[in-house]
């Protein structure tokens, strides 16, 4: 009797995997359906992909999303890297600091989004890309922070001691030893922050000004207006990008442990 095998867990697991992935498969399949009514399968085609490529609203939204995700995730990763280095060793107040850094993870996003809206409007900060970059940077920090911290925790302090022992000062030690060893964690953190920002809908929904719609916000309003094959196509593209980036970050996180 194998103690680790429990009856029916395998069957349930397979069912759960199906539950998780069938919607994705269905969506992808429909995005290749030539028929406009989207329920009647005619034949496979790339028409809708071609069409989203030439849709100016989608182009603009895509551009906004990319600019936003790039700016927010670079800022968040830099800030998170500094914070991770600072919280590496124990100090009084470390656990409080960590809780504050992880605050965006536990707070309901809609509450934070409307609160930020409230703050920006009452301070007279105009909504749009700048406002979104600020807000996204804040909630991306823990997504970048956690993989970097995990990497740092797995990094024995004796590498840095060895570097100092071999006459590297603090800065040289950071450049020649800490940073190269930390790099996969930094990249994993950056990727996760990027995906998080790219996929975000709620915060952007409340903070996007006129002309600064992001892709998820565009998709939401398009769905509200009625299901179209273009939505299927652009949604499929979004899914694929996330899957690729997350897989990348997963492998980076496991690199040379």
């Amino acid at each position: 009797m194998n103690l680790r095998r429990f009856p029916a867990t395998r069957e349930v697991s397979i069912a759960v995997l199906a539950f998780l992935y069938i919607p994705v498969v269905v969506l992808t399949a429909y995005s290749f359906n030539a028929n406009r009514t989207a329920t009647v399968w005619t034949h496979a085609s790339f028409d809708w992909y071609a069409r989203i490529l030439t849709n100016p609203s989608i182009q603009a939204a895509t551009w906004n999303s990319i600019v936003l995700a790039t700016a927010a995730s670079i800022a968040a990763t830099g800030i998170a890297l500094m914070a991770a280095l600072a919280t590496r060793r124990a100090f009084p107040g470390r656990s409080t600091t960590e809780s504050v850094l992880n605050l965006p993870l536990i707070l309901p996003e809609i509450v934070v989004a409307v609160a930020t809206l409230l703050l920006f409007v009452s301070l007279g900060i105009s909504l749009g890309l700048g406002a979104m970059i600020l807000a996204h940077t804040a909630f991306c920090i823990p997504f970048a922070y956690l993989p970097i911290r995990a990497r740092l925790d797995g990094l024995s302090g004796s590498y840095e001691e060895a570097a100092q022992d071999l006459y590297a000062n603090r800065f040289r030690t950071f450049r020649r030893v800490t940073m190269p060893l930390l790099w996969p964690g930094v990249m994993a953190g950056f990727t996760l922050a990027f995906v998080t920002s790219l996929d975000d809908f709620l915060t952007s929904f409340f903070l996007s000004g006129p002309g600064t719609t992001t892709l998820p916000v565009y998709i939401f309003s398009a769905i509200r207006a009625g299901i179209t094959p273009e939505i299927n196509a652009i949604s499929t593209v979004m899914l694929l990008i996330s899957i690729l980036l997350v897989s990348l970050s997963f492998f980076l996180g496991r690199l040379r442990r």
Partner: protein
């Protein structure tokens, strides 16, 4: 610890703490204040209004035309529905997540890594898009609806825009939040303890109940918290899959900050949502402390 190290640490932490406190802490504080004000002005808030708890009272009572306060069940119902939906979703996630986590933990290292990736991917993909996929599957003229209606004996059913569709969507959205903490517990689980239980005369069922369950409890609690809290504040799923009559707290907040344009009232609903969250988390923390002390 020398003081120069303390200064260096402070400087390194400054940007992160400043951003989070200014862009999350400060807005939440401001929202608490605004929830006591009245709507008005161009920005939606009458800043000169005297603070009052009127918005909170409005959640339960409304003023009748002759000035008496009568019970208004609208928001109470939404509040109860949100809690019920969150609870049901948590329960469903637990029922599905436990077997999956248990099964994953028994796999080879490669198998575990593959499963971990497969479970993690939906966690990171676009919530909106994933709920939209369910919209396609469940919609009226879709093949799922037709198949269900072909076998359903009691007249035509609508799969979309009801509580069931929302429960499916929420479970789908938050299932990974349950599986991952459960898995991390099972991964570290010492399976020889079960052997020991068997050796001491426990049957399989008793071993599960007396040995596995108590040790896995922290994972169950963590996972439940991670599912329950975002469910409570869900907006996208009820907005896409729920109908007009199945709104949750998140929809109320969005409506008040959007079309209804009553920001102070929306702020009050948000504060209530935060308060529930705080109560749940405090209860969990107390439970954890008691457990640690025991």
């Amino acid at each position: 610890m020398t003081s120069s190290a303390t200064v260096r640490r402070g400087l390194l932490l400054l940007p992160a703490l400043a951003i989070i406190l200014l862009l999350i802490g400060l807005p939440l504080g401001l929202m608490g204040w605004v929830s006591l004000l009245q709507k008005g002005g161009s920005s939606g808030v009458d800043w000169s209004a005297p603070p009052s708890i009127g918005n909170y009272l409005r959640l339960v009572w409304e003023e009748d035309f002759d000035g008496t306060m009568i019970l208004n069940p609208t928001y109470l119902v939404i509040f109860l529905r949100s809690v019920a939906q969150a609870a049901v979703t948590t329960f469903l996630c637990l029922c599905l997540g436990l077997p999956v986590a248990l099964w994953m933990a028994g796999l080879s290292k490669t198998g575990r890594n593959v499963m971990l990736l497969l479970i993690t991917i939906p966690f990171w993909t676009n919530l909106l898009v994933r709920n939209y996929a369910w919209l396609i599957i469940l919609r009226e003229d879709g093949w799922t609806a037709r198949a269900v209606n072909a076998v359903w004996p009691f007249g035509p059913v609508q799969l979309l825009y009801n509580d069931v569709a929302v429960a499916i969507g929420l479970t789908y959205s938050f299932l990974p939040f349950m599986i991952l903490p459960l898995y991390s517990v099972f991964e570290k689980f010492d399976w020889r303890l079960i052997e020991a239980a068997h050796d001491l005369g426990a049957t399989r069922r008793r071993a599960l109940k007396r040995v596995v369950l108590p040790l896995v409890m922290p994972g169950i609690v963590a996972g439940s918290l991670l599912v329950f809290i975002p469910c409570l504040g869900a907006f996208v799923t009820p907005a896409l899959l729920g109908g007009g009559k199945t709104a949750m707290l998140g929809n109320v907040i969005q409506a008040q900050f959007g079309s209804a344009r009553n920001w102070p009232f929306g702020a009050a609903v948000s504060v209530v949502l935060l308060a529930i969250m705080l109560v749940v988390m405090t209860a969990m923390a107390l439970w954890r402390n008691r457990r640690a002390a025991a």
